[in-house]
Each structure stands twice: as structure tokens, then as C-alpha cells.
């Protein structure tokens, strides 16, 4: 029973990976690996975009959606020696409701883009009597 569930899960994951790869190859646009960390005072969105053109990275915020577009020169060896190329990374992430664009900042280091977005709701300290 457990083995069957594992196999069903693995099949789903394999389908998802295949679909993602097909999409990347046909659109020539890569979805970066990313992580979103929640800290008391800010959110940290980090993504791996090796080969991106640092000066052309666009980060936009609209509502709760943060969009990242980064032109890149991505090429790796592929079947007939011709290289498969992608022209950009593109990512959209929905942030929690208290994310505030004011004061947001970013840095790009060793192929990793990090965006820090402050949280608008401040925490109040309640004294213990």
C-alpha cells in the first residue's frame, strides 16, 4: 500500500518535471529555482539565475505579486552537439499580504538574486508585568 502510494507520487513528480522541461524548451524561458524565507521584519526571496545579465534584471511588484525577468545567455551541450539556448529567466511569486514594496532591495551575487521585502505590519512588544 505504502509502496503504491510512493509510486503514484513519483509518477506525479515525473510528469511535473517533464511538463516543466517541455515548457522551458519550447518557450526558451527558464523558471529559476527559488526559496522564500519569512523573517520577523522581512521576506527574503532568493533564486538561482546563473548566466543572467546583471544590468538587465527586472524586478517588479504589483499587488502581492512579485515578477522577475532576467535576460540570460544559457547554453549547454545537447543531442547533436548544437546547444540548447534559453534567453531569459522568468518567475512570478505571490507574497503574503503584509509584504511592503517600500524599502525593498536586491542584490545579485555569484548567480544568485536575493530580494528583501519588508513586512508592513510591525510587531508590538508586550511587557510582562
Amino acid at each position: 500500500m505504502v509502496r503504491e502510494m510512493e509510486e503514484a507520487f513519483e509518477e506525479e513528480v515525473e510528469n511535473m518535471l517533464t511538463h516543466l522541461k517541455e515548457l522551458e524548451l519550447s518557450s526558451r524561458c527558464l523558471e529559476p529555482f527559488y526559496e522564500l524565507f519569512e523573517k520577523p521584519e522581512e521576506y527574503i526571496l532568493r533564486m538561482d539565475i546563473p548566466g543572467a545579465d546583471r544590468d538587465k534584471i527586472e524586478v517588479r511588484g504589483r499587488g502581492r505579486i512579485i515578477s522577475i525577468y532576467a535576460p540570460c545567455n544559457y547554453s549547454v551541450p545537447y543531442r547533436d552537439g548544437v546547444r540548447t539556448c534559453a534567453t531569459c529567466y522568468r518567475l512570478e511569486v505571490e507574497l503574503p499580504a503584509d509584504a511592503s514594496w517600500e524599502g525593498a532591495r536586491q542584490r545579485y551575487k555569484e548567480g544568485v538574486l536575493e530580494i528583501r521585502i519588508p513586512r508592513s505590519v510591525k510587531e508590538y512588544r508586550i511587557k510582562i508585568e
Binding site: K21, D48, P50, V112
Partner: protein, 255 residues
């Protein structure tokens, strides 16, 4: 499960007795994979065998029109000594980790060699760290002493290890194989050539080699692109493991 051995083949005549086995299977930050691939490609390694990964459907790797097993053993000559490198193009499924670990220690036992298992240890603040630390752990005090004598590493004191490396340590105890783990602070879900460079530097000092690290750092972005698909599959694999344990501290009340 923990006693099974994955089928393996290697040309014993082409492998030197006592040559350290460098295990670099895909895990955190693909540090082991990058390290093994870089050493093999820098020094021109010869494929001398392979391990079949159970629980995988039939897969072969095609590279420059050559048909290869995905999980391969390379013999590498460096400055009058030999190394045996274990490298894989595909991640090891969690279900196969015990049997792969048993194969690694059985091979090491056959050629009377120590295993040097290299990899990453997840570090959430990796982006702020210019020079990641390398931690060592061994089941043999002499190996730890040699590693610490390089003045380049620290002893791994408290924490958890999961995955193939934990399985290798346990398996080695049954076969009386000496194992040295070298784990470097690394990105968890992104390929980390910078962390791999630290491991290569440590291996240089430990084994008296002089493999240049600069070309690895120069190729870092290209390597990250080439390893992207493997990283995605490895991360999917790691999500089935208690990888978060590697960020936790053991309770530590009882020795």
C-alpha cells in the same frame, strides 16, 4: 533493506590497491558531483566500472556518442598516486541509498582503501559567506588527525547526517572500512561550485595534490547551468529525506 548490495562492476586490475575512493554522489548543492566531475575532467580519468542504481528504470547516459552507465567509477592518476572517483549523472533514490552505500564500502573493502565522502551541508546564510567552512568526520581517528593537520578544516562535532553519507558510515562499520567525510557549507538547492572549490583545496592538502582551483571558479556559472537539470531532480529527491535534520541539533543529553 540495509543489507542489500547494489550490483557493481569494476576492473580490479586497473584499480590500485589502497587508492582512496572519493564518493561524490549528487546531494546538497551538488558539491560532491561538481568535485568528482572537476577532478576527473582536470586529470583525465578513465571509466573503470559502474554501480547499478536499483529502483531506477533503465537509463543510459550518452556522452560524445559513447554509451555510459549513469553511476560510474573513474580511476585518476595524480602525481604518482591513484584515486577512484564515484560520480553519478542521476540522483540516487532514497530507496536505493542503503544498497549503493553497501556497494561503495564493499568496493573499498576489496581494494583495501579508505572512502573519502565529499559533499555539502546546507547553510541558509551561504550567500553571505565568502569562504565556506569544511567540516570533517571519520570513524577512524588517524584520518581525522590527518585531515585536521591540513589546518583547513574543522571537526564536525554535533548534528545529524542523512542520506547516502549516513548510510556509508553505517555500512563501513560492518565491513571495517575507514571513512572520512568532508562536508562544506553550501547552498542546499542551487549547484555550488564555490563550495566544491573549497573541497578540492582540502583534498589537495590532504592527499598532497596540486589540482588548480581557479579554472573551477572561472567556470562556475557555466557549471551551474549544466548542472541545472540534475539539481532539480536532486532537490526533488532530497525533499523525500529528512534533510532539515541537518540544520538541527541533537538533544545531547546522553552520550
Amino acid at each position: 533493506m540495509s543489507g542489500s548490495v547494489a550490483p557493481y562492476v569494476f576492473e580490479k586490475k586497473r584499480v590500485e590497491q589502497g587508492a582512496p575512493v572519493i564518493e561524490g554522489l549528487p546531494e546538497v548543492g551538488l558539491v560532491g558531483t561538481i568535485t568528482a566531475a572537476y577532478i576527473a575532467s582536470s586529470l583525465g580519468g578513465d571509466a573503470v566500472g559502474y554501480i547499478e542504481i536499483p529502483d531506477l528504470p533503465p537509463i543510459v547516459t550518452v556522452f560524445e556518442s559513447r554509451i555510459l552507465e549513469p553511476c560510474r567509477l573513474y580511476s585518476v592518476s595524480v602525481e604518482q598516486r591513484k584515486l577512484l572517483l564515484l560520480y553519478s549523472d542521476v540522483p540516487v533514490p532514497p530507496r536505493s541509498m542503503w544498497s549503493i552505500a553497501n556497494s561503495v564500502t564493499e568496493i573499498a573493502s576489496t581494494i583495501k582503501s579508505p572512502v573519502i565522502s565529499v559533499g555539502g551541508i546546507p547553510e541558509p546564510d551561504r550567500l553571505d559567506i565568502e569562504k565556506p567552512k569544511v567540516y570533517v568526520l571519520s570513524n577512524d581517528e588517524e584520518l581525522v588527525r590527518m585531515a585536521l593537520a591540513t589546518d583547513y578544516v574543522q571537526r564536525f562535532e554535533n548534528g545529524y547526517l542523512t542520506g547516502v553519507k549516513a548510510a556509508i558510515l553505517k555500512s563501513a562499520a560492518k565491513r571495517d572500512v575507514r571513512v572520512l567525510l568532508a562536508l562544506v557549507q553550501s547552498h542546499m538547492n542551487y549547484p555550488d561550485p564555490g563550495a566544491a572549490a573549497e573541497v578540492v583545496t582540502f583534498l589537495n592538502k590532504l592527499l598532497g595534490m596540486s589540482i588548480p582551483v581557479a579554472p573551477l571558479l572561472e567556470q562556475a556559472e557555466q557549471l551551474k547551468m549544466q548542472m541545472r537539470d540534475l539539481m532539480r531532480r536532486t532537490s526533488t529527491n532530497l525533499s523525500k529525506m529528512p534533510i532539515g535534520l541537518q540544520l538541527e541539533s541533537p538533544p545531547g543529553y546522553i552520550k
